[in-house]
């Protein structure tokens, strides 16, 4: 396997901060820089097509993923993404067949998944430590295997978004029109849900289940305020999420801050959102 150290060694040269001398900080930064474009790209669709609740349900399925790992004695590294994808695809399949509204379908899965996780964890007191990590996330303990997995996921995701962005937009606006006009709606919906599930699960490891939806939504929501076109929104989301990741990690490592990394990243993104709202407000005034 090629060495990631080359990548890590570049970091102190580009970001000459004392904190960046440490290997775990370098790994954390690489992890966040891989995650940022993924959440930005997927977040644009999550925001435009109101899929925040879907992302929330998947993030909570990570909880059951951990529990399943405990039962089956398999590393949660495997059970979390596997279970997340299964839940994501099942929700899409049910939505496509059921007469129930989308949020009801997701809500039903959401509660089932969380209840199962709680039931298992309540039997096993030793699981509490895993749960802590699951709630708040810990990007600082990310390892090389995780980084490789994220590199693979980012490659697949970028390919999918470059190939399918316009089609996804079409489906999001009206799936029937898209289908009649020759778009393979079902295939895109399943692949998108599968990839989104994986991104959510990796984000749970970075920022914890409480903030995972924020990771997807806040950069995209800020981008929506800044952008005047659909193409522009993607670039703004990339800018906001990447800068938030870098600045958030650096601040969290400062002696005066010493805050949880995930939460700090989200706070920076939130600051971006406030600025974007201001910009949007001023533009509105100009138009008026």
């Amino acid at each position: 396997m090629p060495e990631l150290d080359v990548l890590y060694n570049l970091i102190p040269k580009m970001l000459p901060f004392e904190s960046m001398e440490m290997k775990f900080m370098q790994q954390a930064l690489v992890g966040l820089l891989l995650l940022a474009p993924m959440v930005a790209l997927m977040g644009v669709q999550v925001v435009n097509f109101r899929m925040a609740f879907f992302a929330d349900a998947i993030s909570h399925s990570a909880f059951t993923g951990v529990a399943l790992g405990l039962i089956l004695s398999v590393s949660p590294h495997w059970t979390m993404p596997a279970f997340g994808v299964i839940v994501g695809l099942t929700i899409v399949a049910s939505q496509r067949r059921s007469a129930l509204s989308t949020d009801t379908v997701i809500g039903v899965f959401f509660s089932g998944v969380v209840a199962f996780g709680l039931a298992v964890v309540s039997r096993d007191k030793g699981a509490a430590r895993n749960i802590q990590q699951f709630l708040y996330g810990d990007i600082l303990t990310i390892g090389n295997n995780d980084i490789w997995a994220m590199i693979a996921l980012l490659s697949v995701l970028v390919f999918f978004q470059v190939y399918g962005y316009n089609r996804l937009l079409y489906i999001g606006l009206n799936p029937v029109v898209a289908k009649v006009h020759g778009v393979r709606v079902a295939a895109y919906q399943y692949i998108y849900a599968g990839l989104l599930s994986l991104v959510v699960i990796f984000s749970v490891r970075a920022v914890g289940v409480l903030l995972v939806t924020a990771m997807l939504i806040v950069p995209a929501a800020a981008a929506r305020n800044f952008a005047r076109s659909s193409g522009g929104m993607v670039w703004w989301a990339l800018l906001v999420s990447t800068t938030s990741a870098i600045i958030g990690l650096l601040i969290s490592a400062q002696d005066w801050a010493r805050t949880a990394t995930g939460a700090t990243v989200i706070l920076v993104a939130f600051a971006w959102f406030l600025v974007s709202s201001g910009v949007n407000f001023i533009r509105g005034e100009e138009r008026a």
Partner: protein, 269 residues
Amino acid sequence: MTDVRSTNRAAVAFENVTVSLGGNTILENISASVPEGSCTAIVGPNGAGKTTLLLALLGEVSSSGRIRISHTDQGQDLRIGYIPQRLHFDRGMPLTVLEFMVMGWQRRPLWFGIRRKHRKRALDLLASVKMDGLKKRRLGALSGGELQRVLLALALGQEPNLLVLDEPASGVDFQGGQIFCELLEKLRHEQGFTQLMVSHDLPTVTHHATHVICLNRQVVAEGTPREVLTSETLCKIFGLHMGLVDSGALHIGTKNCSSTCCTKGDTDA
């Protein structure tokens, strides 16, 4: 008087089509046809199953019986363009009219820009529906009538042989509806597509349709507007008030409704 059905083959033929949803029969034994090159209107009261019949045609609801869609002269499947009743979307979303058009056929993602040839095609189509002036406008900022015309342009981008419209005039003000129906008439004559629309707006139907299918869970009547839109049939499907349309005044190919677009049509007839 010419019978459209005898001179044209059917673009779409419904044969004993039945649709049941959740134990309720929405459509029962529908047999009807859409003559090629016609402007066929499906009329009926609310809950008659008009939209369901369209969705069955588009493969969105499962049905028993057969729906036969004819082929082009080259033996290919008919290309279908579809205009929904409403586009439910987040109106605050940043998406320009031009991006919306190009999304239909450009593979390269919009964030890498729009290719010149796609831009030109989109602008030509927008010009054909008189919307080229609003190419930079946000989709969410368009009025109902403008959005309807952009949806028409998007559907025309499919170069359809069959254009399917669900309640084209709903949610559009009088003037918007008038511009839209004039445009459709003109484009249908220029491009020669078959038009199949659902409508409960009888003036629109009497003015534009060449073939009418009256539906109320079953086919109540089918034929030319003159044959079908009799006070007897209308009373049967809509109830008492529909004696307003005087079918004796209808002539095939002539325009006879109160809107100004019809008055204009009279001069062509």
